[in-house]
């Protein structure tokens, strides 16, 4: 190994550094955040975002883009706050069916050679419509076990961090270590040769989308666990957040180059960016703008790091 680090490892170093910088800035502004309770407060909204980011990453791994994740997570949140509480069996069946539809969409996109952006754009309307039918006005209530899961206080580390680590490890095992993950990323890297090696591309794409559906379902359930009730527009911004999270985490749009651990870090970074602003007491008018600015700064940091790393790599 000439570089010391492969390009895959590099992908992880950069997001980790960005998050550390941001976390340090938050602690410096607000030392009280450096506690069990403070960290949980700072990061617990990151859990559903991290799950949604992993879902987006799985779709991006096969060179597609999912513009329906926000609407889908909202839909799941509505199911969780209504059916899953009142009629767990029906609720579970609905969610299983939704995952099935996700997988089906992956297959249809491939078989008909359709642009994923448009199909998922269309699906975002469908999920939003279903959510509106279920909960025309904000309401519903989180099932007790979901509420418990999201508010449990494990020893040593707050739930938000434990959950993030668990998500990162599970996603890493599935996407980076398992044969299925290799197959999914292989489809993103060179679909033709994977096909020629005798694999079913349909199955691989169905698996990628199906897994994305599973993670997105988890995101919706986790979100309701935090907010206790749901509404049809609860997670619409997740679509853009999840894309930003994957990119912040070192993933790329094409070529199956993704990093699950990076994606979780990316989601945490995005969440921290929001908290950082309120600690700075920025006027509400400029909060969105400052969020954009932080995104730019983080990406610029990444660029600088890349450059330095590249210079070091060249003897």
């Amino acid at each position: 190994m000439k570089l010391g680090l492969t390009s895959d490892a590099m992908r992880l170093v950069i997001p980790a550094l960005s998050m550390t910088v941001l976390l340090a800035a938050v602690f410096w502004l607000q030392p009280r955040a450096m506690s069990y309770f403070g960290l949980n407060l700072l990061l617990n909204l990151a859990v559903p975002i991290a799950l949604a980011t992993i879902a987006q990453m799985l779709v991006m791994a096969v060179n597609d883009l999912d513009l329906s994740i926000g609407a889908f997570v909202s839909f799941v949140a509505c199911v969780t706050a209504t059916f899953l509480r009142d009629a767990p069996l029906v609720g579970t069946l609905i969610l299983a069916g939704a995952v099935g539809i996700y997988a089906l969409i992956g297959v249809v996109i491939y078989l008909r050679n359709l642009p994923s952006i448009v199909v998922t754009l269309g699906m975002s309307f469908v999920w939003a419509g279903l959510a509106v039918l279920m909960l025309p006005a904000p309401g519903g209530q989180a099932p007790d076990w979901v509420r418990w899961l999201m508010t449990v206080k494990p020893p040593l580390m707050p739930m938000a961090i434990v959950a993030s680590i668990v998500i990162a490890i599970v996603a890493h095992l599935i996407v980076m270590r398992s044969s299925l993950g290799v197959l999914i990323r292989g489809v993103g890297g060179n679909q033709r040769s994977v096909e020629r090696a005798g694999w079913s591309i349909i199955a691989a794409r169905a698996a990628a989308y199906g897994l994305a559906g599973v993670f997105a379902v988890a995101a919706g359930i986790a979100l309701v666990g935090l907010t206790t009730s749901a509404d049809a527009n609860i997670a619409l911004r997740y679509t853009l957040l999840s894309i930003a999270g994957v990119i912040l985490g070192g993933g790329e749009f094409t070529g199956g180059r993704v990093s699950p651990i990076g994606a979780v870090i990316g989601a945490l970074t995005l969440t921290l960016a929001g908290s950082f602003l309120s600690f700075l007491r920025i006027s509400p008018d400029w909060q969105i703008g400052a969020q954009g600015a932080i995104l730019i700064i983080v990406l610029a940091l990444r660029l600088v790091f890349n450059r330095v790393e590249k210079r070091r790599a060249q003897p």
């Binding site: 448009v118 269309g122 469908v126 959510a131 749009f253 008018d285």
Partner: protein, 316 residues
């Protein structure tokens, strides 16, 4: 005459057929009574999607990952600032337009500066930019709703020879876009870049120049659309651009432009924009509730892309 077989191979024909079918289905319900009104309304509302969509189309032509997410924020900022500057005075119409165009240019420069300087995917660059632009719009707007000058309000809401004026503006811009795309060297360049940036560079194409101009063009078209829309709807609102984010992407792709880049066409934008408006009005006519209407809209988008998209190759 062009034979039907020839016509059927044009990617844009599908969006036109879909638009016509929906139009027909709607006027059947109303017994033909609203034909003129529906057509005029469709042309008026489609005009804004067309102007925004053309800009987005040029960007999408540049290849995978090229999408301008700052379109809605640019529309809002341009509309807000222009109306504030004009301050209901008819004499300020031209300076207002100039300011809107300047805002478009500034956003375009900012977008490409981010893409180039930070080497980030355009989606992220334009997303970050849109946050800043949106903030600027919130800050300028301050919840005040300034009315447009009466000349402009009249112009945008009336028709010439039965054709809405905004549709005529869209037509003019579309013709310019068509010449750029089909006849000019620039059109060849962006198509080449969309197919392979490396090959385009080695063929001596000024890749950065062409991409920069494209992002400028998209932002300027968005700001012009924002200017017109603010005048048309009697004032700038902070969420006025919101629906045009997904809309601009949807009309481009339903119109037959390849999402993977390298191929695009102007007529499809018209068919798709008319179609998108007509679907909503058809479902309204049938008296269908919001939830079902959303589902139907989604299913129709998917069906159209399945009808049209399966016939093309070279897309991802």
């Amino acid at each position: 005459m062009i034979s039907f077989g020839n016509l059927a191979r044009k990617p844009w024909i599908w969006s036109w057929m879909a638009a016509f079918l929906v139009w027909f289905a709607t006027i059947m319900v109303t017994g033909g009574a609203s034909t003129l009104g529906l057509s005029q309304a469709a042309l008026t509302f489609a005009a804004f999607s067309i102007i925004v969509g053309i800009g987005q189309m040029f960007v999408i032509t540049l290849g995978p990952g090229n999408i301008d997410l700052s379109v809605p924020a640019t529309m809002t900022l341009a509309g807000t600032v222009a109306l504030k500057l004009m301050n209901v005075e008819n004499g300020m119409v031209v300076p207002g337009l100039l300011v809107a165009v300047l805002i478009g240019l500034a956003v375009g420069v900012g977008n490409y500066a981010l893409i180039k300087a930070l080497r980030i995917p355009p989606i992220i660059a334009t997303l970050s930019m849109s946050f800043i632009v949106q903030s600027a719009a919130i800050w300028t707007n301050r919840g005040l709703r300034i009315k447009p000058p009466s000349v402009l309000a009249d112009f945008t809401t009336s028709s010439t020879l039965g054709v809405p004026n905004v549709a005529l503006v869209a037509l003019g811009l579309s013709l310019i876009a068509w010449v750029l795309l089909e006849k000019s060297v620039y059109g060849r360049w962006i198509s080449a870049i969309g197919q392979s940036m490396a090959a385009a560079r080695m063929a001596g194409i000024p890749v950065d120049g062409a991409r920069f101009v494209t992002y400028l063009l998209c932002a300027v078209l968005a700001s012009v659309a924002g200017y017109l829309l603010a005048c048309f709807s009697g004032g700038a609102a902070l969420n006025m651009g919101a629906e045009y984010l997904l809309m601009s992407i949807a009309v481009v792709v339903i119109g037959g432009t390849a999402v993977a880049g390298g191929y695009s066409n102007v007529p499809g934008i018209w068919g798709a924009s008319l179609f998108m408006f007509l679907v909503v009005s058809m479902l309204n006519t049938y008296g269908i509730g919001a939830g079902v209407r959303l589902i139907m809209t989604g299913l129709i988008i998917i069906s159209v892309i399945m009808l049209a998209g399966g016939r093309r190759t070279g897309m991802r």
